[in-house]
Protein backbone atom coordinates (compact mmCIF):
# COMPACT_ATOMS: atom_id res chain seq x y z
CA UNK A 1 0.00 0.00 0.00
CA UNK A 2 2.70 2.39 1.06
CA UNK A 3 4.71 1.35 -1.96
CA UNK A 4 1.82 2.09 -4.29
CA UNK A 5 1.29 5.46 -2.68
CA UNK A 6 4.95 6.28 -3.13
CA UNK A 7 4.88 5.26 -6.76
CA UNK A 8 1.78 7.31 -7.34
CA UNK A 9 3.34 10.37 -5.77
CA UNK A 10 6.49 9.86 -7.84
CA UNK A 11 4.35 9.63 -10.94
CA UNK A 12 2.48 12.81 -10.00
CA UNK A 13 5.73 14.56 -9.23
CA UNK A 14 7.36 13.64 -12.53
CA UNK A 15 4.19 14.61 -14.38
CA UNK A 16 4.31 17.99 -12.65
CA UNK A 17 7.93 18.43 -13.62
CA UNK A 18 7.11 17.52 -17.21
CA UNK A 19 4.39 20.16 -17.41
CA UNK A 20 6.66 22.78 -15.88
CA UNK A 21 9.29 21.96 -18.52
CA UNK A 22 6.93 22.50 -21.44
CA UNK A 23 6.96 26.12 -22.41
CA UNK A 24 3.89 28.16 -23.15
CA UNK A 25 4.45 30.73 -25.86
CA UNK A 26 1.86 33.18 -27.12
CA UNK A 27 1.85 34.10 -30.81
CA UNK A 28 -0.07 37.15 -31.99
CA UNK A 29 -0.42 37.00 -35.77
CA UNK A 30 -1.60 39.91 -37.96
CA UNK A 31 -4.22 37.89 -39.79
CA UNK A 32 -4.37 35.77 -42.89
CA UNK A 33 -4.40 38.41 -45.63
CA UNK A 34 -1.97 36.60 -47.95
CA UNK A 35 -0.90 33.08 -48.76
CA UNK A 36 2.54 33.77 -47.37
CA UNK A 37 1.12 34.80 -44.00
CA UNK A 38 -1.11 31.73 -43.84
CA UNK A 39 2.00 29.64 -44.50
CA UNK A 40 3.86 31.50 -41.74
CA UNK A 41 1.07 30.58 -39.31
CA UNK A 42 1.13 26.92 -40.34
CA UNK A 43 4.92 26.70 -40.13
CA UNK A 44 4.95 28.38 -36.70
CA UNK A 45 2.41 25.88 -35.37
CA UNK A 46 4.38 22.95 -36.82
CA UNK A 47 7.66 24.23 -35.37
CA UNK A 48 6.03 24.61 -31.95
CA UNK A 49 4.60 21.11 -32.09
CA UNK A 50 7.98 19.61 -33.02
CA UNK A 51 9.66 21.30 -30.07
CA UNK A 52 6.89 20.39 -27.64
CA UNK A 53 5.97 24.02 -27.10
CA UNK A 54 2.43 24.83 -26.00
CA UNK A 55 1.59 27.56 -28.54
CA UNK A 56 -1.27 29.97 -27.83
CA UNK A 57 -2.33 31.46 -31.15
CA UNK A 58 -4.30 34.66 -31.63
CA UNK A 59 -5.35 36.09 -35.01
CA UNK A 60 -5.73 39.89 -34.81
CA UNK A 61 -7.90 40.16 -37.93
CA UNK A 62 -5.66 43.02 -39.20
CA UNK A 63 -6.49 45.21 -36.19
CA UNK A 64 -3.93 46.64 -33.82
CA UNK A 65 -6.43 46.98 -30.94
CA UNK A 66 -7.01 43.22 -31.09
CA UNK A 67 -3.28 42.63 -31.13
CA UNK A 68 -2.58 44.84 -28.11
CA UNK A 69 -5.43 43.14 -26.20
CA UNK A 70 -4.02 39.72 -27.12
CA UNK A 71 -0.55 40.71 -25.86
CA UNK A 72 -2.05 41.94 -22.58
CA UNK A 73 -3.94 38.66 -22.18
CA UNK A 74 -0.75 36.69 -22.79
CA UNK A 75 0.96 38.73 -20.06
CA UNK A 76 -1.94 38.19 -17.66
CA UNK A 77 -1.83 34.50 -18.41
CA UNK A 78 1.85 34.41 -17.53
CA UNK A 79 3.19 32.84 -20.74
CA UNK A 80 6.94 32.19 -20.92
CA UNK A 81 7.48 34.24 -24.09
CA UNK A 82 5.56 36.14 -26.75
CA UNK A 83 5.97 36.17 -30.53
CA UNK A 84 4.32 39.02 -32.37
CA UNK A 85 4.08 39.99 -36.03
CA UNK A 86 3.08 43.64 -35.55
CA UNK A 87 0.42 44.97 -37.92
CA UNK A 88 1.77 48.55 -37.82
CA UNK A 89 5.05 49.96 -36.53
CA UNK A 90 3.64 52.53 -34.11
CA UNK A 91 2.02 52.37 -30.69
CA UNK A 92 3.71 49.42 -28.99
CA UNK A 93 5.64 51.16 -26.20
CA UNK A 94 3.27 50.73 -23.29
CA UNK A 95 2.32 47.10 -23.89
CA UNK A 96 5.97 46.13 -24.51
CA UNK A 97 6.89 47.87 -21.25
CA UNK A 98 4.27 45.79 -19.45
CA UNK A 99 5.78 42.63 -20.90
CA UNK A 100 9.26 43.76 -19.86
CA UNK A 101 8.07 44.44 -16.32
CA UNK A 102 6.53 40.97 -16.17
CA UNK A 103 9.90 39.65 -17.45
CA UNK A 104 8.34 38.02 -20.51
CA UNK A 105 10.68 38.17 -23.53
CA UNK A 106 9.06 39.37 -26.77
CA UNK A 107 10.30 38.40 -30.24
CA UNK A 108 9.16 40.34 -33.31
CA UNK A 109 8.52 38.33 -36.44
CA UNK A 110 8.86 39.58 -40.00
CA UNK A 111 7.97 43.24 -39.29
CA UNK A 112 9.55 45.90 -37.08
CA UNK A 113 8.21 48.37 -34.51
CA UNK A 114 9.44 51.89 -33.81
CA UNK A 115 9.85 51.27 -30.07
CA UNK A 116 13.18 51.17 -28.27
CA UNK A 117 15.11 47.93 -29.01
CA UNK A 118 15.47 47.41 -25.24
CA UNK A 119 11.80 46.48 -25.09
CA UNK A 120 12.11 43.30 -27.14
CA UNK A 121 14.53 40.39 -27.09
CA UNK A 122 15.14 40.23 -30.82
CA UNK A 123 13.49 40.58 -34.22
CA UNK A 124 13.48 37.88 -36.88
CA UNK A 125 13.05 39.02 -40.44
CA UNK A 126 14.32 38.95 -43.94
CA UNK A 127 16.48 41.57 -45.58
CA UNK A 128 14.64 42.71 -48.72
CA UNK A 129 17.71 44.34 -50.26
CA UNK A 130 19.66 41.14 -49.73
CA UNK A 131 16.95 39.12 -51.53
CA UNK A 132 17.27 41.37 -54.57
CA UNK A 133 21.05 41.10 -54.42
CA UNK A 134 20.92 37.28 -54.40
CA UNK A 135 18.69 37.37 -57.51
CA UNK A 136 21.06 39.81 -59.24
CA UNK A 137 24.17 37.77 -58.40
CA UNK A 138 22.50 34.64 -59.75
CA UNK A 139 21.85 36.37 -63.07
CA UNK A 140 25.47 37.57 -63.29
CA UNK A 141 26.74 34.01 -62.94
CA UNK A 142 24.01 32.56 -65.19
CA UNK A 143 24.76 34.75 -68.23
CA UNK A 144 28.48 34.34 -67.63
CA UNK A 145 29.70 37.55 -69.25
CA UNK A 146 27.39 37.54 -72.27
CA UNK A 147 25.42 40.61 -73.30
CA UNK A 148 22.03 40.63 -71.45
CA UNK A 149 19.08 43.05 -71.68
CA UNK A 150 16.85 42.64 -68.62
CA UNK A 151 13.21 43.65 -68.16
CA UNK A 152 11.98 44.21 -64.60
CA UNK A 153 8.50 43.76 -63.12
CA UNK A 154 8.32 45.93 -60.01
CA UNK A 155 6.07 45.45 -57.02
CA UNK A 156 3.47 47.97 -55.91
CA UNK A 157 4.89 51.44 -56.49
CA UNK A 158 6.28 52.94 -53.32
CA UNK A 159 6.00 49.79 -51.21
CA UNK A 160 9.11 48.87 -49.25
CA UNK A 161 9.56 45.42 -50.90
CA UNK A 162 9.42 47.05 -54.34
CA UNK A 163 11.96 49.73 -53.44
CA UNK A 164 14.35 47.38 -51.63
CA UNK A 165 14.20 44.47 -54.06
CA UNK A 166 14.93 46.84 -56.95
CA UNK A 167 17.83 48.37 -55.05
CA UNK A 168 19.24 44.97 -54.11
CA UNK A 169 19.07 43.63 -57.66
CA UNK A 170 20.85 46.71 -58.99
CA UNK A 171 23.57 46.17 -56.39
CA UNK A 172 23.82 42.52 -57.42
CA UNK A 173 24.47 43.36 -61.09
CA UNK A 174 26.50 46.51 -60.38
CA UNK A 175 29.85 44.96 -61.31
CA UNK A 176 28.66 43.40 -64.57
CA UNK A 177 28.63 45.86 -67.48
CA UNK A 178 27.20 43.22 -69.79
CA UNK A 179 23.87 43.28 -67.91
CA UNK A 180 21.51 46.22 -68.36
CA UNK A 181 17.93 46.83 -67.14
CA UNK A 182 16.22 48.17 -70.24
CA UNK A 183 12.61 48.35 -69.09
CA UNK A 184 11.11 48.52 -65.62
CA UNK A 185 7.43 48.88 -64.76
CA UNK A 186 5.11 48.01 -61.91
CA UNK A 187 3.07 44.81 -62.04
CA UNK A 188 1.50 45.48 -58.62
CA UNK A 189 2.61 42.10 -57.23
CA UNK A 190 -0.31 40.40 -59.01
CA UNK A 191 -0.42 37.67 -61.60
CA UNK A 192 -2.75 39.48 -64.04
CA UNK A 193 -0.78 42.75 -64.00
CA UNK A 194 2.45 40.78 -64.39
CA UNK A 195 1.08 39.15 -67.54
CA UNK A 196 -0.23 42.42 -69.01
CA UNK A 197 2.98 44.36 -68.43
CA UNK A 198 5.07 41.48 -69.82
CA UNK A 199 2.94 41.51 -72.99
CA UNK A 200 3.74 45.18 -73.50
CA UNK A 201 7.45 44.51 -72.84
CA UNK A 202 7.46 41.78 -75.48
CA UNK A 203 5.82 44.02 -78.08
CA UNK A 204 8.19 46.88 -77.34
CA UNK A 205 11.29 44.65 -77.52
CA UNK A 206 11.01 43.20 -80.99
CA UNK A 207 8.54 40.47 -80.04
CA UNK A 208 10.76 39.47 -77.16
CA UNK A 209 13.80 38.68 -79.30
CA UNK A 210 15.80 41.48 -77.64
CA UNK A 211 15.02 40.37 -74.10
CA UNK A 212 17.50 38.07 -72.42
CA UNK A 213 16.07 37.89 -68.89
CA UNK A 214 13.11 38.84 -66.72
CA UNK A 215 13.45 39.88 -63.09
CA UNK A 216 10.13 39.97 -61.16
CA UNK A 217 9.83 41.32 -57.60
CA UNK A 218 7.61 38.38 -56.69
CA UNK A 219 6.76 34.94 -57.99
CA UNK A 220 3.14 35.73 -58.77
CA UNK A 221 4.11 38.34 -61.37
CA UNK A 222 6.69 35.93 -62.79
CA UNK A 223 4.04 33.23 -63.20
CA UNK A 224 1.83 35.71 -65.08
CA UNK A 225 4.75 36.81 -67.23
CA UNK A 226 5.66 33.19 -68.10
CA UNK A 227 2.15 32.82 -69.50
CA UNK A 228 2.65 35.95 -71.65
CA UNK A 229 6.01 34.66 -72.94
CA UNK A 230 4.47 31.33 -73.93
CA UNK A 231 1.61 33.09 -75.72
CA UNK A 232 4.16 35.14 -77.67
CA UNK A 233 5.59 31.85 -78.98
CA UNK A 234 8.82 31.93 -76.98
CA UNK A 235 10.18 29.46 -74.47
CA UNK A 236 10.35 30.90 -70.94
CA UNK A 237 13.40 29.60 -69.11
CA UNK A 238 15.37 29.20 -72.37
CA UNK A 239 14.70 32.14 -74.71
CA UNK A 240 14.07 34.42 -71.75
CA UNK A 241 15.58 33.63 -68.34
CA UNK A 242 13.14 34.11 -65.44
CA UNK A 243 14.26 34.99 -61.90
CA UNK A 244 11.93 36.11 -59.11
CA UNK A 245 11.55 36.25 -55.31
CA UNK A 246 9.37 34.57 -52.64
CA UNK A 247 9.51 30.81 -53.45
CA UNK A 248 5.76 30.11 -53.41
CA UNK A 249 4.63 26.62 -54.50
CA UNK A 250 3.53 27.67 -58.01
CA UNK A 251 6.98 28.87 -59.02
CA UNK A 252 8.39 25.43 -58.14
CA UNK A 253 5.97 23.91 -60.65
CA UNK A 254 7.32 26.36 -63.22
CA UNK A 255 10.90 25.47 -62.22
CA UNK A 256 10.11 21.78 -62.53
CA UNK A 257 8.67 22.37 -65.99
CA UNK A 258 11.79 24.31 -66.99
CA UNK A 259 9.82 27.53 -67.48
CA UNK A 260 11.48 29.48 -64.69
CA UNK A 261 15.16 29.52 -63.74
CA UNK A 262 15.53 30.74 -60.18
CA UNK A 263 13.68 32.04 -57.16
CA UNK A 264 14.92 33.51 -53.89
CA UNK A 265 13.09 32.29 -50.83
CA UNK A 266 11.34 34.60 -48.40
CA UNK A 267 10.99 31.92 -45.78
CA UNK A 268 7.73 31.65 -43.85
CA UNK A 269 9.75 29.98 -41.10
CA UNK A 270 10.42 33.04 -38.95
CA UNK A 271 9.41 31.10 -35.84
CA UNK A 272 12.22 28.51 -36.05
CA UNK A 273 15.04 31.04 -35.47
CA UNK A 274 12.84 32.79 -32.88
CA UNK A 275 12.35 29.57 -30.91
CA UNK A 276 16.10 28.84 -31.17
CA UNK A 277 16.93 32.26 -29.77
CA UNK A 278 14.42 31.83 -26.94
CA UNK A 279 15.77 28.37 -26.10
CA UNK A 280 19.30 29.71 -25.77
CA UNK A 281 18.03 32.65 -23.74
CA UNK A 282 16.16 30.41 -21.30
CA UNK A 283 19.00 27.90 -21.04
CA UNK A 284 21.79 30.26 -19.97
CA UNK A 285 20.60 33.80 -20.59
CA UNK A 286 22.35 34.18 -23.96
CA UNK A 287 21.28 37.48 -25.48
CA UNK A 288 20.69 37.08 -29.22
CA UNK A 289 21.51 39.75 -31.81
CA UNK A 290 18.84 42.45 -32.04
CA UNK A 291 18.05 41.42 -35.61
CA UNK A 292 18.19 37.83 -36.82
CA UNK A 293 18.27 37.77 -40.59
CA UNK A 294 16.63 34.73 -42.14
CA UNK A 295 18.44 32.97 -44.93
CA UNK A 296 17.49 34.15 -48.44
CA UNK A 297 18.00 30.80 -50.11
CA UNK A 298 18.30 30.53 -53.86
CA UNK A 299 16.42 27.73 -55.62
CA UNK A 300 17.14 26.76 -59.22
CA UNK A 301 15.99 23.96 -61.50
CA UNK A 302 18.75 21.80 -60.01
CA UNK A 303 17.27 21.94 -56.49
CA UNK A 304 14.53 19.32 -56.85
CA UNK A 305 11.70 21.77 -57.56
CA UNK A 306 9.09 18.99 -57.72
CA UNK A 307 10.03 17.87 -54.21
CA UNK A 308 9.99 21.47 -52.92
CA UNK A 309 6.52 21.91 -54.41
CA UNK A 310 5.26 18.82 -52.58
CA UNK A 311 6.73 20.07 -49.30
CA UNK A 312 5.06 23.46 -49.59
CA UNK A 313 1.71 22.89 -51.20
CA UNK A 314 -0.08 22.12 -47.91
CA UNK A 315 1.27 25.06 -45.93
CA UNK A 316 -1.69 27.24 -46.84
CA UNK A 317 -0.10 29.45 -49.55
Amino acid sequence: MLERLLMASVAVFSLGAGVAGAQTIGFSQIGSESGWRAAETTVTMNEAKERGIDLRFSDAQQRQENQIAALRSFIAQGVDAILVAPVVATGWDSVLEEAAEAEIPVVLLDRMVDSSPDLYLTAVGSDLVHEGRVAGEWLVSAVNGEECRVVELQGTTGSSPAIDRKKGFEEGIAGADNIEIVRSQTGDFTRTRGKEVMESFLQAENGGADICALYAHNDDMAVGAIQAIKEAGLKPGEDILVVSIDAVPDIFQALAAGEANATVELTPNMAGPAFDALEAFFADGTMPEKFIQTESKLYTQADDPAGEYEARKDLGY
Binding site: G26, D54, L55, R56, F57, S58, D59, A60, Q61, R63, Q64, E65, N66, I68, A69, A70, R72, S73, F74, I75, A76, Q77, G78, V88, A89, T90, G91, D93, S94, E98, A102, D114
Partner: protein, 318 residues
Amino acid sequence: MNIRALPLYATIAIFLLAYLVCYLQFPAMLSTRVIGNLLTDNAYLGIVAVGMTVVIISGGIDLSVGSVIAFSGVFIAVLLRETGLHPLAVFALLLAITTLFGAAMGGMIHLLAMPPFIVTLAGMFLARGAGYMLTIDSVPIDHAFYETMQRAYYLMPGKGRLTLLGGTMVASVILGMILLHRTKFGTNVYALGGGEATARLMGVAVGRTTVLIYAFSGLMAGLAGIVFSVYTSAGYPLATVGVELNAIAAVVIGGTLLTGGSGYMFGTLIGVLTMGLIQTYIVFDGTLSSWWTKIVIGALLLMFILLQKGLLRLRLSH
Protein backbone atom coordinates in the same frame (compact mmCIF):
# COMPACT_ATOMS: atom_id res chain seq x y z
CA MET B 1 -40.40 41.95 -9.79
CA ASN B 2 -39.86 44.59 -12.41
CA ILE B 3 -40.29 42.92 -15.78
CA ARG B 4 -38.38 45.72 -17.55
CA ALA B 5 -35.27 44.93 -15.54
CA LEU B 6 -35.29 41.24 -16.44
CA PRO B 7 -32.89 41.58 -19.41
CA LEU B 8 -30.48 43.44 -17.12
CA TYR B 9 -30.55 40.61 -14.58
CA ALA B 10 -30.10 38.11 -17.41
CA THR B 11 -27.06 40.07 -18.64
CA ILE B 12 -25.45 40.19 -15.22
CA ALA B 13 -26.17 36.48 -14.65
CA ILE B 14 -24.64 35.53 -18.01
CA PHE B 15 -21.54 37.62 -17.34
CA LEU B 16 -20.98 36.10 -13.90
CA LEU B 17 -21.62 32.60 -15.19
CA ALA B 18 -19.24 33.13 -18.12
CA TYR B 19 -16.60 34.48 -15.77
CA LEU B 20 -17.03 31.44 -13.53
CA VAL B 21 -16.59 29.08 -16.48
CA CYS B 22 -13.45 30.98 -17.54
CA TYR B 23 -12.10 30.91 -13.99
CA LEU B 24 -12.64 27.17 -13.58
CA GLN B 25 -10.69 26.52 -16.77
CA PHE B 26 -8.01 29.21 -16.33
CA PRO B 27 -7.61 30.30 -12.68
CA ALA B 28 -5.42 33.18 -13.89
CA MET B 29 -8.56 34.77 -15.33
CA LEU B 30 -9.56 35.93 -11.85
CA SER B 31 -6.59 38.26 -11.42
CA THR B 32 -6.51 42.01 -11.16
CA ARG B 33 -4.40 41.97 -14.32
CA VAL B 34 -7.23 40.52 -16.39
CA ILE B 35 -9.78 42.84 -14.81
CA GLY B 36 -7.54 45.84 -15.44
CA ASN B 37 -7.02 44.69 -19.04
CA LEU B 38 -10.77 44.27 -19.58
CA LEU B 39 -11.31 47.89 -18.58
CA THR B 40 -8.34 49.29 -20.52
CA ASP B 41 -8.69 47.28 -23.72
CA ASN B 42 -12.39 48.01 -24.01
CA ALA B 43 -12.26 51.62 -22.83
CA TYR B 44 -12.97 53.18 -26.24
CA LEU B 45 -15.77 50.71 -26.92
CA GLY B 46 -17.34 51.30 -23.51
CA ILE B 47 -17.29 55.08 -23.89
CA VAL B 48 -18.81 55.00 -27.36
CA ALA B 49 -21.42 52.49 -26.11
CA VAL B 50 -22.52 54.96 -23.43
CA GLY B 51 -23.55 57.40 -26.16
CA MET B 52 -25.06 54.57 -28.20
CA THR B 53 -27.20 53.45 -25.23
CA VAL B 54 -28.82 56.88 -25.00
CA VAL B 55 -29.42 56.90 -28.77
CA ILE B 56 -30.93 53.42 -28.84
CA ILE B 57 -33.18 54.02 -25.80
CA SER B 58 -34.54 57.05 -27.66
CA GLY B 59 -35.46 54.69 -30.50
CA GLY B 60 -32.65 55.87 -32.81
CA ILE B 61 -29.31 54.54 -34.04
CA ASP B 62 -25.92 56.17 -34.67
CA LEU B 63 -23.79 54.49 -37.32
CA SER B 64 -21.25 57.29 -37.52
CA VAL B 65 -19.38 56.64 -34.27
CA GLY B 66 -16.74 54.20 -35.59
CA SER B 67 -15.71 56.66 -38.29
CA VAL B 68 -15.77 59.54 -35.81
CA ILE B 69 -13.29 57.64 -33.59
CA ALA B 70 -10.96 57.14 -36.57
CA PHE B 71 -11.37 60.78 -37.62
CA SER B 72 -10.60 61.90 -34.06
CA GLY B 73 -7.37 59.92 -33.96
CA VAL B 74 -6.20 61.30 -37.29
CA PHE B 75 -7.27 64.85 -36.39
CA ILE B 76 -5.31 64.74 -33.12
CA ALA B 77 -2.24 63.14 -34.70
CA VAL B 78 -2.08 65.57 -37.62
CA LEU B 79 -2.75 68.65 -35.49
CA LEU B 80 -0.08 67.65 -32.99
CA ARG B 81 2.37 67.04 -35.80
CA GLU B 82 1.64 70.26 -37.70
CA THR B 83 1.09 72.74 -34.88
CA GLY B 84 2.59 73.41 -31.48
CA LEU B 85 -0.77 73.18 -29.71
CA HIS B 86 -0.96 71.36 -26.39
CA PRO B 87 -2.88 68.06 -26.59
CA LEU B 88 -5.48 69.36 -24.12
CA ALA B 89 -6.28 72.26 -26.45
CA VAL B 90 -6.52 69.84 -29.37
CA PHE B 91 -8.86 67.61 -27.31
CA ALA B 92 -11.15 70.56 -26.54
CA LEU B 93 -11.26 71.53 -30.21
CA LEU B 94 -11.95 67.96 -31.27
CA LEU B 95 -14.74 67.43 -28.73
CA ALA B 96 -16.37 70.65 -29.93
CA ILE B 97 -16.21 69.43 -33.53
CA THR B 98 -17.60 65.94 -32.86
CA THR B 99 -20.35 67.31 -30.59
CA LEU B 100 -21.41 69.79 -33.28
CA PHE B 101 -21.23 67.02 -35.86
CA GLY B 102 -23.60 64.90 -33.75
CA ALA B 103 -25.88 67.86 -33.12
CA ALA B 104 -26.06 68.55 -36.86
CA MET B 105 -27.08 64.95 -37.52
CA GLY B 106 -29.72 65.19 -34.76
CA GLY B 107 -31.00 68.41 -36.28
CA MET B 108 -31.33 66.84 -39.72
CA ILE B 109 -33.10 63.80 -38.28
CA HIS B 110 -35.65 66.05 -36.60
CA LEU B 111 -36.10 68.83 -39.16
CA LEU B 112 -36.18 66.64 -42.27
CA ALA B 113 -37.99 63.81 -40.45
CA MET B 114 -35.43 61.39 -41.89
CA PRO B 115 -34.67 57.95 -40.44
CA PRO B 116 -31.59 58.12 -38.15
CA PHE B 117 -30.20 55.12 -40.02
CA ILE B 118 -29.80 57.12 -43.26
CA VAL B 119 -28.59 60.34 -41.70
CA THR B 120 -25.94 58.68 -39.55
CA LEU B 121 -24.91 56.43 -42.45
CA ALA B 122 -24.13 59.61 -44.37
CA GLY B 123 -22.30 60.84 -41.27
CA MET B 124 -20.28 57.62 -41.22
CA PHE B 125 -19.01 58.13 -44.79
CA LEU B 126 -18.43 61.82 -44.17
CA ALA B 127 -16.30 61.31 -41.05
CA ARG B 128 -14.29 58.46 -42.61
CA GLY B 129 -13.70 60.54 -45.74
CA ALA B 130 -12.63 63.54 -43.67
CA GLY B 131 -10.09 61.30 -41.93
CA TYR B 132 -8.66 60.24 -45.31
CA MET B 133 -8.51 63.87 -46.41
CA LEU B 134 -6.17 64.62 -43.51
CA THR B 135 -3.83 61.70 -44.17
CA ILE B 136 -3.78 58.21 -45.63
CA ASP B 137 -0.94 56.96 -43.42
CA SER B 138 -0.77 55.86 -39.82
CA VAL B 139 0.57 59.00 -38.12
CA PRO B 140 2.45 58.31 -34.88
CA ILE B 141 1.82 60.62 -31.92
CA ASP B 142 5.03 61.47 -30.13
CA HIS B 143 4.29 63.88 -27.33
CA ALA B 144 5.46 63.93 -23.73
CA PHE B 145 1.89 64.50 -22.51
CA TYR B 146 0.79 61.28 -24.26
CA GLU B 147 3.47 59.33 -22.46
CA THR B 148 2.30 60.80 -19.16
CA MET B 149 -1.24 59.67 -19.93
CA GLN B 150 -0.10 56.18 -20.87
CA ARG B 151 1.88 55.86 -17.69
CA ALA B 152 -0.96 57.14 -15.51
CA TYR B 153 -2.22 54.06 -13.74
CA TYR B 154 -2.92 52.76 -10.28
CA LEU B 155 -1.12 49.47 -9.62
CA MET B 156 -3.69 47.18 -7.99
CA PRO B 157 -2.58 44.32 -5.73
CA GLY B 158 -1.55 41.46 -8.04
CA LYS B 159 0.10 43.82 -10.57
CA GLY B 160 -3.15 44.67 -12.35
CA ARG B 161 -3.31 48.19 -13.70
CA LEU B 162 -6.26 50.49 -13.34
CA THR B 163 -5.29 52.84 -16.15
CA LEU B 164 -6.42 56.36 -16.90
CA LEU B 165 -8.22 54.95 -19.95
CA GLY B 166 -10.11 52.34 -17.95
CA GLY B 167 -10.95 54.97 -15.34
CA THR B 168 -12.25 57.30 -18.05
CA MET B 169 -14.59 54.57 -19.26
CA VAL B 170 -15.94 53.88 -15.76
CA ALA B 171 -16.44 57.63 -15.23
CA SER B 172 -18.28 57.87 -18.56
CA VAL B 173 -20.61 55.05 -17.57
CA ILE B 174 -21.36 56.74 -14.24
CA LEU B 175 -21.97 60.02 -16.04
CA GLY B 176 -24.30 58.21 -18.44
CA MET B 177 -26.16 56.58 -15.55
CA ILE B 178 -26.78 59.93 -13.87
CA LEU B 179 -27.79 61.53 -17.16
CA LEU B 180 -30.19 58.74 -18.09
CA HIS B 181 -31.75 57.86 -14.75
CA ARG B 182 -31.55 61.08 -12.72
CA THR B 183 -32.20 64.02 -15.07
CA LYS B 184 -35.11 65.52 -16.99
CA PHE B 185 -33.18 64.85 -20.20
CA GLY B 186 -33.04 61.15 -19.34
CA THR B 187 -36.79 60.99 -18.77
CA ASN B 188 -37.31 62.68 -22.13
CA VAL B 189 -35.05 60.11 -23.83
CA TYR B 190 -37.15 57.23 -22.46
CA ALA B 191 -40.35 59.06 -23.42
CA LEU B 192 -39.08 59.57 -26.97
CA GLY B 193 -38.23 55.89 -27.20
CA GLY B 194 -41.77 55.01 -26.20
CA GLY B 195 -43.07 56.83 -29.28
CA GLU B 196 -42.68 60.35 -30.63
CA ALA B 197 -46.39 61.16 -30.59
CA THR B 198 -46.86 60.19 -26.95
CA ALA B 199 -43.68 62.01 -26.01
CA ARG B 200 -45.05 65.17 -27.65
CA LEU B 201 -48.30 64.75 -25.72
CA MET B 202 -46.29 64.44 -22.52
CA GLY B 203 -44.77 67.81 -23.28
CA VAL B 204 -41.28 66.66 -24.35
CA ALA B 205 -39.45 69.15 -26.57
CA VAL B 206 -38.81 66.52 -29.25
CA GLY B 207 -36.54 68.59 -31.49
CA ARG B 208 -34.30 69.82 -28.71
CA THR B 209 -34.05 66.34 -27.16
CA THR B 210 -33.17 64.71 -30.50
CA VAL B 211 -30.39 67.23 -31.15
CA LEU B 212 -29.04 66.75 -27.63
CA ILE B 213 -29.11 62.96 -27.93
CA TYR B 214 -26.98 62.89 -31.07
CA ALA B 215 -24.75 65.67 -29.78
CA PHE B 216 -24.08 63.53 -26.69
CA SER B 217 -23.32 60.52 -28.89
CA GLY B 218 -20.92 62.69 -30.93
CA LEU B 219 -19.26 63.90 -27.73
CA MET B 220 -18.79 60.33 -26.50
CA ALA B 221 -17.42 59.24 -29.91
CA GLY B 222 -14.92 62.11 -29.74
CA LEU B 223 -13.90 61.08 -26.22
CA ALA B 224 -13.56 57.47 -27.39
CA GLY B 225 -11.38 58.78 -30.23
CA ILE B 226 -9.09 60.51 -27.73
CA VAL B 227 -8.89 57.34 -25.62
CA PHE B 228 -8.18 55.24 -28.72
CA SER B 229 -5.41 57.60 -29.81
CA VAL B 230 -3.80 57.29 -26.37
CA TYR B 231 -4.25 53.51 -26.54
CA THR B 232 -2.43 53.14 -29.87
CA SER B 233 -0.46 56.44 -29.80
CA ALA B 234 -1.22 56.92 -33.46
CA GLY B 235 -3.93 58.21 -35.76
CA TYR B 236 -4.95 55.91 -38.58
CA PRO B 237 -7.90 56.61 -40.93
CA LEU B 238 -8.55 52.89 -41.40
CA ALA B 239 -8.89 52.23 -37.66
CA THR B 240 -12.05 51.08 -35.86
CA VAL B 241 -13.99 50.01 -38.94
CA GLY B 242 -17.24 48.45 -37.73
CA VAL B 243 -16.88 49.57 -34.11
CA GLU B 244 -20.37 51.15 -34.32
CA LEU B 245 -21.75 47.64 -34.79
CA ASN B 246 -19.76 46.33 -31.80
CA ALA B 247 -21.18 49.18 -29.74
CA ILE B 248 -24.74 48.36 -30.84
CA ALA B 249 -24.12 44.70 -29.99
CA ALA B 250 -22.80 45.63 -26.54
CA VAL B 251 -25.88 47.79 -25.89
CA VAL B 252 -28.27 45.00 -26.92
CA ILE B 253 -26.36 42.35 -24.95
CA GLY B 254 -26.58 44.83 -22.07
CA GLY B 255 -30.34 44.38 -22.10
CA THR B 256 -31.48 47.51 -23.94
CA LEU B 257 -34.47 47.11 -26.24
CA LEU B 258 -33.44 47.84 -29.85
CA THR B 259 -36.82 49.44 -30.51
CA GLY B 260 -36.20 51.95 -27.72
CA GLY B 261 -37.91 52.98 -24.52
CA SER B 262 -36.28 50.45 -22.22
CA GLY B 263 -32.78 49.73 -20.97
CA TYR B 264 -30.11 50.53 -18.40
CA MET B 265 -26.73 52.19 -18.70
CA PHE B 266 -25.15 49.69 -16.28
CA GLY B 267 -26.23 46.83 -18.57
CA THR B 268 -24.17 48.36 -21.38
CA LEU B 269 -21.04 48.23 -19.22
CA ILE B 270 -21.71 44.54 -18.56
CA GLY B 271 -22.34 44.03 -22.28
CA VAL B 272 -18.97 45.56 -23.15
CA LEU B 273 -17.20 43.51 -20.48
CA THR B 274 -18.91 40.32 -21.70
CA MET B 275 -17.59 40.92 -25.21
CA GLY B 276 -14.13 41.61 -23.80
CA LEU B 277 -14.34 38.46 -21.69
CA ILE B 278 -15.07 36.30 -24.74
CA GLN B 279 -12.04 37.76 -26.51
CA THR B 280 -9.83 37.18 -23.46
CA TYR B 281 -11.03 33.61 -23.12
CA ILE B 282 -10.17 32.87 -26.74
CA VAL B 283 -6.65 34.27 -26.33
CA PHE B 284 -6.18 32.30 -23.10
CA ASP B 285 -7.26 29.13 -24.83
CA GLY B 286 -4.97 29.84 -27.76
CA THR B 287 -6.25 27.11 -30.07
CA LEU B 288 -9.61 28.54 -31.09
CA SER B 289 -9.84 30.78 -34.14
CA SER B 290 -10.36 34.35 -33.00
CA TRP B 291 -13.38 34.54 -35.27
CA TRP B 292 -15.21 32.58 -32.56
CA THR B 293 -15.54 35.94 -30.79
CA LYS B 294 -17.93 37.00 -33.54
CA ILE B 295 -19.83 33.73 -33.48
CA VAL B 296 -20.39 33.83 -29.72
CA ILE B 297 -21.41 37.50 -29.84
CA GLY B 298 -23.83 36.67 -32.66
CA ALA B 299 -25.36 33.85 -30.60
CA LEU B 300 -25.66 36.11 -27.54
CA LEU B 301 -27.33 38.83 -29.62
CA LEU B 302 -29.84 36.38 -31.02
CA MET B 303 -30.58 35.11 -27.54
CA PHE B 304 -31.23 38.60 -26.22
CA ILE B 305 -33.48 39.52 -29.11
CA LEU B 306 -35.54 36.37 -28.49
CA LEU B 307 -35.59 37.14 -24.76
CA GLN B 308 -36.85 40.65 -25.44
CA LYS B 309 -39.55 39.39 -27.81
CA GLY B 310 -40.67 36.91 -25.15
CA LEU B 311 -40.80 39.60 -22.47
CA LEU B 312 -42.75 41.91 -24.75
CA ARG B 313 -45.33 39.20 -25.28
CA LEU B 314 -45.43 38.50 -21.54
CA ARG B 315 -46.09 42.16 -20.87
CA LEU B 316 -48.83 42.38 -23.49
CA SER B 317 -50.60 39.31 -22.14
CA HIS B 318 -50.76 40.82 -18.65
